[in-house]
Amino acid sequence: MLNKIKRILIELGGIHRFVMRFFRELVRPPYEFKEIIKQCYEVGWKSLPLISLTGFITGIVFTNQSRPSLAEFGATSWLPALISIAIIRALAPLVTALIASGKVGSQIGAELGSMKVTEQIDAMEVSGTNPFKFLVVSRVLATTITIPILSLYTACVGLLGAYLSVNQHESTSFVVYFSQVFEAVSYLDIFSLVLKAVVFGYTIGIVGCYQGYNSSKGTEGVGKAANWAVVMSMFLIFVEEILIVQIIQGMRT
Protein backbone atom coordinates (compact mmCIF):
# COMPACT_ATOMS: atom_id res chain seq x y z
CA MET A 1 0.00 0.00 0.00
CA LEU A 2 2.79 2.41 0.97
CA ASN A 3 4.62 1.54 -2.23
CA LYS A 4 1.50 2.28 -4.25
CA ILE A 5 1.10 5.69 -2.62
CA LYS A 6 4.79 6.35 -3.21
CA ARG A 7 4.42 5.45 -6.90
CA ILE A 8 1.39 7.73 -7.28
CA LEU A 9 3.24 10.62 -5.61
CA ILE A 10 6.27 10.08 -7.87
CA GLU A 11 3.95 10.05 -10.91
CA LEU A 12 2.26 13.27 -9.77
CA GLY A 13 5.69 14.85 -9.27
CA GLY A 14 6.64 13.78 -12.80
CA ILE A 15 3.46 15.30 -14.26
CA HIS A 16 4.04 18.54 -12.34
CA ARG A 17 7.61 18.82 -13.65
CA PHE A 18 6.42 18.05 -17.19
CA VAL A 19 3.73 20.75 -17.10
CA MET A 20 6.12 23.31 -15.59
CA ARG A 21 8.72 22.49 -18.25
CA PHE A 22 6.09 23.03 -20.94
CA PHE A 23 5.45 26.59 -19.77
CA ARG A 24 9.19 27.27 -19.42
CA GLU A 25 9.95 26.02 -22.92
CA LEU A 26 6.88 27.77 -24.34
CA VAL A 27 8.25 31.25 -23.67
CA ARG A 28 11.90 30.49 -24.33
CA PRO A 29 13.19 31.00 -27.92
CA PRO A 30 13.77 29.62 -30.50
CA TYR A 31 10.16 29.04 -31.54
CA GLU A 32 9.28 26.10 -33.78
CA PHE A 33 6.64 27.90 -35.90
CA LYS A 34 6.97 25.54 -38.85
CA GLU A 35 6.41 22.48 -36.67
CA ILE A 36 3.47 24.15 -34.88
CA ILE A 37 1.78 24.85 -38.24
CA LYS A 38 2.48 21.28 -39.38
CA GLN A 39 0.93 19.90 -36.19
CA CYS A 40 -2.09 22.22 -36.51
CA TYR A 41 -2.60 20.71 -39.96
CA GLU A 42 -2.23 17.17 -38.54
CA VAL A 43 -4.57 17.80 -35.60
CA GLY A 44 -7.05 20.16 -37.21
CA TRP A 45 -7.34 19.55 -40.92
CA LYS A 46 -7.02 15.78 -40.72
CA SER A 47 -9.71 15.59 -38.02
CA LEU A 48 -12.23 17.53 -40.11
CA PRO A 49 -13.97 14.58 -41.84
CA LEU A 50 -14.57 12.73 -38.56
CA ILE A 51 -15.56 15.89 -36.68
CA SER A 52 -17.91 16.93 -39.51
CA LEU A 53 -19.68 13.60 -39.54
CA THR A 54 -19.97 13.40 -35.75
CA GLY A 55 -21.12 17.00 -35.36
CA PHE A 56 -23.71 16.68 -38.10
CA ILE A 57 -25.14 13.43 -36.75
CA THR A 58 -25.13 14.79 -33.18
CA GLY A 59 -27.24 17.74 -34.34
CA ILE A 60 -29.78 15.53 -36.11
CA VAL A 61 -30.00 12.92 -33.35
CA PHE A 62 -30.25 15.46 -30.53
CA THR A 63 -33.06 17.27 -32.36
CA ASN A 64 -34.95 14.06 -33.07
CA GLN A 65 -34.60 12.91 -29.47
CA SER A 66 -35.66 16.28 -28.01
CA ARG A 67 -38.72 16.78 -30.23
CA PRO A 68 -41.12 14.30 -28.51
CA SER A 69 -40.62 15.92 -25.08
CA LEU A 70 -41.31 19.40 -26.43
CA ALA A 71 -44.18 18.12 -28.58
CA GLU A 72 -45.99 16.92 -25.41
CA PHE A 73 -46.31 20.58 -24.37
CA GLY A 74 -46.84 21.84 -27.92
CA ALA A 75 -43.51 23.64 -27.67
CA THR A 76 -41.65 22.36 -30.72
CA SER A 77 -41.15 25.97 -31.80
CA TRP A 78 -38.61 26.17 -28.97
CA LEU A 79 -36.48 23.50 -30.63
CA PRO A 80 -34.00 25.94 -32.30
CA ALA A 81 -33.37 27.70 -28.99
CA LEU A 82 -33.01 24.44 -27.06
CA ILE A 83 -30.68 22.99 -29.69
CA SER A 84 -28.48 26.06 -29.90
CA ILE A 85 -28.04 26.25 -26.11
CA ALA A 86 -27.31 22.52 -25.86
CA ILE A 87 -24.89 22.45 -28.78
CA ILE A 88 -22.99 25.63 -28.03
CA ARG A 89 -22.85 25.34 -24.25
CA ALA A 90 -22.16 21.62 -23.96
CA LEU A 91 -22.21 19.32 -26.95
CA ALA A 92 -19.85 21.03 -29.41
CA PRO A 93 -16.78 21.33 -27.13
CA LEU A 94 -17.44 18.00 -25.43
CA VAL A 95 -18.03 15.98 -28.59
CA THR A 96 -15.04 17.60 -30.32
CA ALA A 97 -12.78 16.96 -27.33
CA LEU A 98 -13.85 13.33 -26.95
CA ILE A 99 -13.37 12.64 -30.66
CA ALA A 100 -10.00 14.43 -30.60
CA SER A 101 -8.81 12.62 -27.49
CA GLY A 102 -9.51 9.32 -29.25
CA LYS A 103 -8.01 10.31 -32.57
CA VAL A 104 -5.35 12.89 -31.75
CA GLY A 105 -4.47 11.95 -28.15
CA SER A 106 -3.81 8.32 -29.02
CA GLN A 107 -1.85 9.38 -32.12
CA ILE A 108 0.39 11.70 -30.10
CA GLY A 109 0.88 9.08 -27.37
CA ALA A 110 1.78 6.35 -29.86
CA GLU A 111 3.99 8.58 -32.02
CA LEU A 112 6.06 9.98 -29.17
CA GLY A 113 6.08 6.58 -27.47
CA SER A 114 7.53 4.88 -30.50
CA MET A 115 10.02 7.73 -30.97
CA LYS A 116 11.08 7.24 -27.36
CA VAL A 117 11.59 3.47 -27.53
CA THR A 118 13.41 3.65 -30.88
CA GLU A 119 15.78 6.30 -29.44
CA GLN A 120 14.62 8.98 -31.91
CA ILE A 121 14.08 11.43 -29.04
CA ASP A 122 17.60 10.75 -27.74
CA ALA A 123 18.91 11.21 -31.31
CA MET A 124 17.26 14.61 -31.46
CA GLU A 125 18.75 15.59 -28.12
CA VAL A 126 22.31 14.61 -29.03
CA SER A 127 22.08 16.42 -32.35
CA GLY A 128 21.63 19.75 -30.60
CA THR A 129 17.82 20.00 -30.88
CA ASN A 130 15.62 20.41 -27.84
CA PRO A 131 13.16 17.50 -28.34
CA PHE A 132 10.78 18.81 -25.69
CA LYS A 133 10.33 22.08 -27.51
CA PHE A 134 10.18 20.48 -30.95
CA LEU A 135 7.87 17.59 -30.11
CA VAL A 136 5.92 18.49 -26.97
CA VAL A 137 5.48 22.27 -27.12
CA SER A 138 4.49 22.20 -30.79
CA ARG A 139 1.91 19.44 -30.29
CA VAL A 140 0.36 20.90 -27.15
CA LEU A 141 0.11 24.32 -28.80
CA ALA A 142 -1.43 22.73 -31.89
CA THR A 143 -4.16 20.99 -29.89
CA THR A 144 -4.76 24.10 -27.77
CA ILE A 145 -5.20 26.23 -30.90
CA THR A 146 -7.12 23.82 -33.12
CA ILE A 147 -9.59 22.23 -30.68
CA PRO A 148 -11.40 25.60 -30.10
CA ILE A 149 -11.57 26.15 -33.88
CA LEU A 150 -12.82 22.60 -34.38
CA SER A 151 -15.37 23.10 -31.59
CA LEU A 152 -16.78 26.21 -33.27
CA TYR A 153 -16.87 24.28 -36.52
CA THR A 154 -18.64 21.34 -34.79
CA ALA A 155 -21.21 23.79 -33.41
CA CYS A 156 -21.89 25.13 -36.92
CA VAL A 157 -22.14 21.65 -38.45
CA GLY A 158 -24.30 20.41 -35.55
CA LEU A 159 -26.65 23.37 -35.95
CA LEU A 160 -26.86 22.66 -39.67
CA GLY A 161 -27.72 19.01 -38.99
CA ALA A 162 -30.35 20.12 -36.49
CA TYR A 163 -31.73 22.57 -39.07
CA LEU A 164 -32.31 19.73 -41.56
CA SER A 165 -34.40 17.90 -38.97
CA VAL A 166 -36.29 21.04 -37.89
CA ASN A 167 -36.90 22.07 -41.48
CA GLN A 168 -38.22 18.64 -42.35
CA HIS A 169 -40.62 18.33 -39.40
CA GLU A 170 -41.55 21.89 -38.47
CA SER A 171 -41.12 23.51 -41.90
CA THR A 172 -39.03 26.27 -40.35
CA SER A 173 -37.06 28.34 -42.84
CA PHE A 174 -33.28 28.73 -42.72
CA VAL A 175 -33.46 32.42 -41.74
CA VAL A 176 -36.07 31.92 -39.01
CA TYR A 177 -34.22 28.92 -37.62
CA PHE A 178 -30.89 30.72 -37.34
CA SER A 179 -32.39 33.93 -36.01
CA GLN A 180 -33.96 31.86 -33.20
CA VAL A 181 -30.65 30.07 -32.67
CA PHE A 182 -28.70 33.32 -32.29
CA GLU A 183 -31.34 34.93 -30.12
CA ALA A 184 -31.01 32.10 -27.61
CA VAL A 185 -27.23 32.24 -27.18
CA SER A 186 -25.23 34.96 -25.47
CA TYR A 187 -21.58 36.02 -25.71
CA LEU A 188 -21.01 34.19 -22.45
CA ASP A 189 -22.10 30.95 -24.13
CA ILE A 190 -19.60 31.47 -26.93
CA PHE A 191 -16.95 32.38 -24.35
CA SER A 192 -17.73 29.21 -22.39
CA LEU A 193 -17.42 27.11 -25.58
CA VAL A 194 -14.03 28.61 -26.40
CA LEU A 195 -12.78 28.41 -22.80
CA LYS A 196 -13.75 24.76 -22.49
CA ALA A 197 -12.23 23.93 -25.87
CA VAL A 198 -8.94 25.65 -24.98
CA VAL A 199 -8.73 23.71 -21.71
CA PHE A 200 -9.73 20.43 -23.38
CA GLY A 201 -7.26 20.99 -26.22
CA TYR A 202 -4.43 21.68 -23.79
CA THR A 203 -5.37 18.58 -21.78
CA ILE A 204 -5.43 16.30 -24.84
CA GLY A 205 -2.03 17.59 -25.97
CA ILE A 206 -0.24 17.55 -22.64
CA VAL A 207 -1.60 14.14 -21.57
CA GLY A 208 -0.77 12.54 -24.95
CA CYS A 209 2.72 14.03 -24.90
CA TYR A 210 3.35 13.08 -21.25
CA GLN A 211 2.35 9.47 -21.84
CA GLY A 212 4.36 9.18 -25.06
CA TYR A 213 7.42 11.08 -23.89
CA ASN A 214 7.70 8.95 -20.75
CA SER A 215 6.84 5.59 -22.26
CA SER A 216 9.16 2.64 -21.74
CA LYS A 217 9.23 -1.15 -22.04
CA GLY A 218 9.32 -1.35 -25.84
CA THR A 219 6.26 -1.85 -28.01
CA GLU A 220 4.14 -2.77 -25.00
CA GLY A 221 4.95 0.67 -23.58
CA VAL A 222 3.88 2.34 -26.85
CA GLY A 223 0.49 0.62 -26.69
CA LYS A 224 0.07 1.61 -23.06
CA ALA A 225 1.06 5.19 -23.80
CA ALA A 226 -1.58 5.47 -26.54
CA ASN A 227 -4.20 3.81 -24.37
CA TRP A 228 -3.49 5.91 -21.28
CA ALA A 229 -3.40 9.08 -23.35
CA VAL A 230 -7.06 8.45 -24.28
CA VAL A 231 -8.25 7.20 -20.89
CA MET A 232 -6.57 9.97 -18.88
CA SER A 233 -7.56 12.79 -21.20
CA MET A 234 -11.21 11.65 -21.37
CA PHE A 235 -11.36 11.43 -17.58
CA LEU A 236 -9.81 14.88 -17.17
CA ILE A 237 -12.10 16.37 -19.85
CA PHE A 238 -15.19 15.32 -17.87
CA VAL A 239 -13.74 16.67 -14.62
CA GLU A 240 -12.88 19.97 -16.34
CA GLU A 241 -16.34 20.12 -17.91
CA ILE A 242 -17.95 19.99 -14.47
CA LEU A 243 -15.59 22.64 -13.05
CA ILE A 244 -15.95 25.05 -15.99
CA VAL A 245 -19.75 24.70 -15.99
CA GLN A 246 -19.75 25.69 -12.31
CA ILE A 247 -17.52 28.70 -13.02
CA ILE A 248 -19.66 29.85 -15.98
CA GLN A 249 -22.84 29.36 -13.95
CA GLY A 250 -21.29 31.59 -11.28
CA MET A 251 -20.54 34.23 -13.92
CA ARG A 252 -24.07 33.98 -15.30
CA THR A 253 -25.80 34.77 -12.00
Binding site: S114, M115, T118, E119, Q120, D122, A123, M124, E125, V126, S127, G128, T129, N130
Partner: protein, 257 residues
Amino acid sequence: MVNEREHIDQHTKVITVKGVSKSFGDLDVLRGVDLHLFKGENLVVLGRSGTGKSVLIKLISGLLKPDTGTIEVLGEPVDELDEKALQLLRLKIGFSFQSSALYDSMTVRENLEFPLVRNKRHLSRNEINSEVEDVLDAVGLLHTIGQMPSELSGGQRKRIGIARTLILRPEIMLYDEPTAGLDPITCIEINGLINEVQEKYKTSSIIITHDLACAKSVGDRIVMLLDGSFERGGSFDEIFDTNDERVKPFYDYNFII
Protein backbone atom coordinates in the same frame (compact mmCIF):
# COMPACT_ATOMS: atom_id res chain seq x y z
CA MET B 1 51.38 -3.58 -27.58
CA VAL B 2 48.66 -1.10 -28.42
CA ASN B 3 47.89 -0.72 -32.12
CA GLU B 4 49.18 2.83 -32.53
CA ARG B 5 48.47 4.78 -35.68
CA GLU B 6 50.08 7.98 -36.76
CA HIS B 7 46.91 9.98 -36.33
CA ILE B 8 46.68 9.39 -32.56
CA ASP B 9 47.78 12.31 -30.42
CA GLN B 10 48.71 10.60 -27.15
CA HIS B 11 49.20 13.94 -25.39
CA THR B 12 45.61 15.13 -25.86
CA LYS B 13 42.73 13.42 -24.12
CA VAL B 14 39.38 14.35 -25.64
CA ILE B 15 37.35 12.28 -23.17
CA THR B 16 38.26 11.56 -19.55
CA VAL B 17 36.01 9.43 -17.36
CA LYS B 18 36.97 9.19 -13.67
CA GLY B 19 35.38 6.92 -11.07
CA VAL B 20 31.96 6.91 -12.72
CA SER B 21 29.22 4.78 -11.21
CA LYS B 22 25.64 4.38 -12.37
CA SER B 23 22.79 2.37 -10.92
CA PHE B 24 19.22 1.77 -12.03
CA GLY B 25 17.21 0.92 -8.92
CA ASP B 26 19.05 -1.91 -7.17
CA LEU B 27 21.10 -2.76 -10.26
CA ASP B 28 24.67 -1.42 -10.21
CA VAL B 29 25.56 -1.11 -13.89
CA LEU B 30 28.84 0.78 -13.72
CA ARG B 31 31.12 0.70 -10.68
CA GLY B 32 33.89 3.26 -10.61
CA VAL B 33 34.73 3.28 -14.30
CA ASP B 34 37.91 5.07 -15.46
CA LEU B 35 38.48 5.69 -19.15
CA HIS B 36 40.19 8.10 -21.51
CA LEU B 37 40.12 8.66 -25.26
CA PHE B 38 43.06 10.21 -27.09
CA LYS B 39 42.62 12.60 -29.96
CA GLY B 40 42.34 10.70 -33.23
CA GLU B 41 41.96 7.33 -31.53
CA ASN B 42 39.41 4.58 -32.21
CA LEU B 43 38.70 3.05 -28.80
CA VAL B 44 36.61 -0.12 -28.69
CA VAL B 45 34.62 -0.94 -25.58
CA LEU B 46 33.91 -4.67 -25.50
CA GLY B 47 31.56 -6.43 -23.19
CA ARG B 48 28.59 -8.75 -22.97
CA SER B 49 25.07 -7.47 -23.34
CA GLY B 50 23.79 -5.75 -20.21
CA THR B 51 27.21 -4.81 -18.88
CA GLY B 52 26.57 -1.08 -19.24
CA LYS B 53 28.43 -0.30 -22.46
CA SER B 54 25.60 1.77 -23.93
CA VAL B 55 25.03 3.42 -20.55
CA LEU B 56 28.64 4.56 -20.63
CA ILE B 57 28.31 6.46 -23.92
CA LYS B 58 24.96 7.87 -22.88
CA LEU B 59 26.74 9.26 -19.81
CA ILE B 60 29.46 10.70 -22.02
CA SER B 61 26.92 12.43 -24.27
CA GLY B 62 24.98 13.75 -21.27
CA LEU B 63 21.83 11.73 -21.98
CA LEU B 64 22.25 10.22 -18.50
CA LYS B 65 23.84 11.64 -15.37
CA PRO B 66 26.36 9.62 -13.34
CA ASP B 67 25.64 8.82 -9.68
CA THR B 68 29.28 9.45 -8.80
CA GLY B 69 32.45 10.40 -10.66
CA THR B 70 33.26 12.96 -13.34
CA ILE B 71 33.20 13.00 -17.13
CA GLU B 72 35.13 15.54 -19.18
CA VAL B 73 34.56 15.88 -22.92
CA LEU B 74 36.87 18.26 -24.82
CA GLY B 75 37.83 19.75 -21.46
CA GLU B 76 34.26 20.41 -20.31
CA PRO B 77 32.59 18.65 -17.36
CA VAL B 78 29.51 17.11 -18.98
CA ASP B 79 27.53 16.54 -15.79
CA GLU B 80 28.01 20.13 -14.59
CA LEU B 81 27.03 21.95 -17.79
CA ASP B 82 23.73 23.82 -18.05
CA GLU B 83 21.28 22.89 -20.81
CA LYS B 84 22.57 25.43 -23.33
CA ALA B 85 26.25 24.63 -22.82
CA LEU B 86 25.48 20.92 -23.06
CA GLN B 87 23.62 21.47 -26.30
CA LEU B 88 26.64 23.31 -27.74
CA LEU B 89 29.01 20.57 -26.61
CA ARG B 90 26.78 17.94 -28.19
CA LEU B 91 27.32 19.53 -31.58
CA LYS B 92 30.89 18.30 -31.31
CA ILE B 93 29.78 14.77 -30.48
CA GLY B 94 28.26 12.45 -33.06
CA PHE B 95 26.15 9.62 -31.66
CA SER B 96 25.36 6.65 -33.88
CA PHE B 97 22.57 4.69 -32.22
CA GLN B 98 22.21 0.92 -32.18
CA SER B 99 18.74 1.22 -33.70
CA SER B 100 19.96 3.94 -36.12
CA ALA B 101 17.18 6.14 -34.65
CA LEU B 102 16.23 7.64 -38.02
CA TYR B 103 13.12 9.84 -37.86
CA ASP B 104 10.42 7.62 -39.35
CA SER B 105 8.23 10.45 -40.58
CA MET B 106 11.03 12.13 -42.56
CA THR B 107 12.80 11.22 -45.80
CA VAL B 108 16.54 10.54 -45.81
CA ARG B 109 17.13 14.12 -46.98
CA GLU B 110 14.97 15.56 -44.18
CA ASN B 111 16.69 13.32 -41.62
CA LEU B 112 20.05 14.74 -42.63
CA GLU B 113 18.84 18.32 -42.90
CA PHE B 114 17.21 18.23 -39.48
CA PRO B 115 20.32 18.85 -37.31
CA LEU B 116 21.76 21.18 -39.92
CA VAL B 117 18.87 23.64 -40.26
CA ARG B 118 18.53 23.83 -36.49
CA ASN B 119 22.14 24.38 -35.62
CA LYS B 120 23.54 26.20 -38.64
CA ARG B 121 20.77 28.66 -39.40
CA HIS B 122 23.01 30.86 -41.53
CA LEU B 123 23.35 28.22 -44.26
CA SER B 124 21.58 28.83 -47.57
CA ARG B 125 19.38 26.19 -49.23
CA ASN B 126 22.15 25.42 -51.73
CA GLU B 127 24.71 24.98 -48.97
CA ILE B 128 22.38 22.66 -47.06
CA ASN B 129 21.77 20.57 -50.19
CA SER B 130 25.48 20.40 -50.86
CA GLU B 131 26.25 19.31 -47.25
CA VAL B 132 23.56 16.62 -47.35
CA GLU B 133 24.79 15.26 -50.66
CA ASP B 134 28.40 15.34 -49.47
CA VAL B 135 27.81 13.17 -46.38
CA LEU B 136 25.45 10.84 -48.23
CA ASP B 137 28.15 10.39 -50.84
CA ALA B 138 30.67 9.70 -48.06
CA VAL B 139 28.55 6.77 -46.85
CA GLY B 140 27.82 5.65 -50.42
CA LEU B 141 24.06 6.18 -50.32
CA LEU B 142 23.41 9.27 -52.39
CA HIS B 143 20.73 7.40 -54.37
CA THR B 144 18.56 6.95 -51.25
CA ILE B 145 18.13 10.70 -50.71
CA GLY B 146 14.38 10.72 -51.42
CA GLN B 147 13.53 7.46 -49.67
CA MET B 148 11.80 6.93 -46.34
CA PRO B 149 13.68 5.06 -43.56
CA SER B 150 11.18 2.19 -43.80
CA GLU B 151 12.33 1.56 -47.38
CA LEU B 152 15.97 1.04 -46.35
CA SER B 153 17.80 -2.13 -45.31
CA GLY B 154 19.36 -2.46 -41.85
CA GLY B 155 22.84 -1.69 -43.19
CA GLN B 156 21.60 1.34 -45.12
CA ARG B 157 19.84 2.66 -42.02
CA LYS B 158 23.10 2.34 -40.07
CA ARG B 159 24.97 4.26 -42.77
CA ILE B 160 22.35 6.99 -42.92
CA GLY B 161 22.46 7.20 -39.11
CA ILE B 162 26.22 7.72 -39.31
CA ALA B 163 25.80 10.26 -42.12
CA ARG B 164 23.32 12.23 -39.99
CA THR B 165 25.84 12.50 -37.18
CA LEU B 166 28.63 13.46 -39.60
CA ILE B 167 26.71 16.36 -41.06
CA LEU B 168 27.55 18.54 -38.06
CA ARG B 169 31.26 17.65 -38.46
CA PRO B 170 31.72 16.26 -34.93
CA GLU B 171 35.12 15.94 -33.31
CA ILE B 172 34.08 12.82 -31.43
CA MET B 173 32.02 9.87 -32.69
CA LEU B 174 30.23 7.48 -30.35
CA TYR B 175 29.08 4.27 -32.05
CA ASP B 176 26.61 2.10 -30.17
CA GLU B 177 26.79 -1.48 -31.51
CA PRO B 178 27.38 -0.41 -35.13
CA THR B 179 27.26 -3.97 -36.50
CA ALA B 180 24.49 -5.43 -34.33
CA GLY B 181 21.89 -7.34 -36.34
CA LEU B 182 23.74 -7.07 -39.66
CA ASP B 183 24.99 -9.82 -41.96
CA PRO B 184 28.78 -10.48 -42.05
CA ILE B 185 29.32 -8.69 -45.38
CA THR B 186 27.47 -5.58 -44.22
CA CYS B 187 29.42 -5.73 -40.95
CA ILE B 188 32.67 -5.55 -42.93
CA GLU B 189 31.30 -2.58 -44.88
CA ILE B 190 30.30 -0.76 -41.69
CA ASN B 191 33.72 -1.44 -40.14
CA GLY B 192 35.31 -0.01 -43.28
CA LEU B 193 33.06 3.02 -43.02
CA ILE B 194 34.08 3.65 -39.40
CA ASN B 195 37.73 3.68 -40.46
CA GLU B 196 36.96 5.91 -43.46
CA VAL B 197 35.11 8.36 -41.23
CA GLN B 198 38.10 8.49 -38.89
CA GLU B 199 40.46 9.18 -41.75
CA LYS B 200 38.31 11.66 -43.67
CA TYR B 201 36.81 13.65 -40.80
CA LYS B 202 39.71 13.21 -38.30
CA THR B 203 37.36 12.11 -35.53
CA SER B 204 38.14 10.41 -32.24
CA SER B 205 35.76 7.52 -31.64
CA ILE B 206 34.41 5.20 -28.99
CA ILE B 207 32.93 2.06 -30.52
CA ILE B 208 30.68 -0.01 -28.29
CA THR B 209 30.41 -3.58 -29.50
CA HIS B 210 30.38 -7.24 -28.64
CA ASP B 211 31.48 -8.12 -32.17
CA LEU B 212 35.15 -9.13 -32.04
CA ALA B 213 35.61 -8.86 -35.82
CA CYS B 214 34.48 -5.24 -35.57
CA ALA B 215 36.76 -4.66 -32.57
CA LYS B 216 39.74 -6.11 -34.40
CA SER B 217 39.01 -4.19 -37.58
CA VAL B 218 38.44 -0.69 -36.18
CA GLY B 219 40.08 -0.59 -32.74
CA ASP B 220 43.35 1.20 -32.06
CA ARG B 221 42.88 0.21 -28.44
CA ILE B 222 40.38 -2.11 -26.81
CA VAL B 223 39.03 -2.08 -23.27
CA MET B 224 36.82 -4.78 -21.82
CA LEU B 225 33.98 -4.04 -19.45
CA LEU B 226 33.66 -6.79 -16.86
CA ASP B 227 31.40 -6.66 -13.81
CA GLY B 228 30.76 -2.94 -14.14
CA SER B 229 34.34 -1.75 -14.55
CA PHE B 230 37.26 -1.95 -16.97
CA GLU B 231 39.64 -4.68 -15.97
CA ARG B 232 41.46 -5.26 -19.22
CA GLY B 233 42.84 -2.90 -21.85
CA GLY B 234 45.28 -3.04 -24.73
CA SER B 235 45.53 -4.35 -28.25
CA PHE B 236 43.26 -7.10 -29.53
CA ASP B 237 45.89 -9.80 -28.93
CA GLU B 238 46.71 -8.52 -25.44
CA ILE B 239 43.06 -8.56 -24.43
CA PHE B 240 42.55 -12.20 -25.29
CA ASP B 241 45.94 -13.49 -24.17
CA THR B 242 44.44 -14.66 -20.90
CA ASN B 243 42.94 -17.61 -19.07
CA ASP B 244 40.31 -15.42 -17.42
CA GLU B 245 37.11 -17.47 -17.56
CA ARG B 246 35.04 -14.31 -18.06
CA VAL B 247 37.04 -13.37 -21.19
CA LYS B 248 37.90 -16.65 -22.92
CA PRO B 249 34.34 -17.79 -23.76
CA PHE B 250 33.81 -14.42 -25.42
CA TYR B 251 36.68 -15.06 -27.79
CA ASP B 252 35.83 -18.74 -28.32
CA TYR B 253 32.24 -17.97 -29.23
CA ASN B 254 33.20 -15.34 -31.78
CA PHE B 255 36.06 -17.13 -33.52
CA ILE B 256 35.69 -20.85 -32.92
CA ILE B 257 31.98 -21.57 -32.72
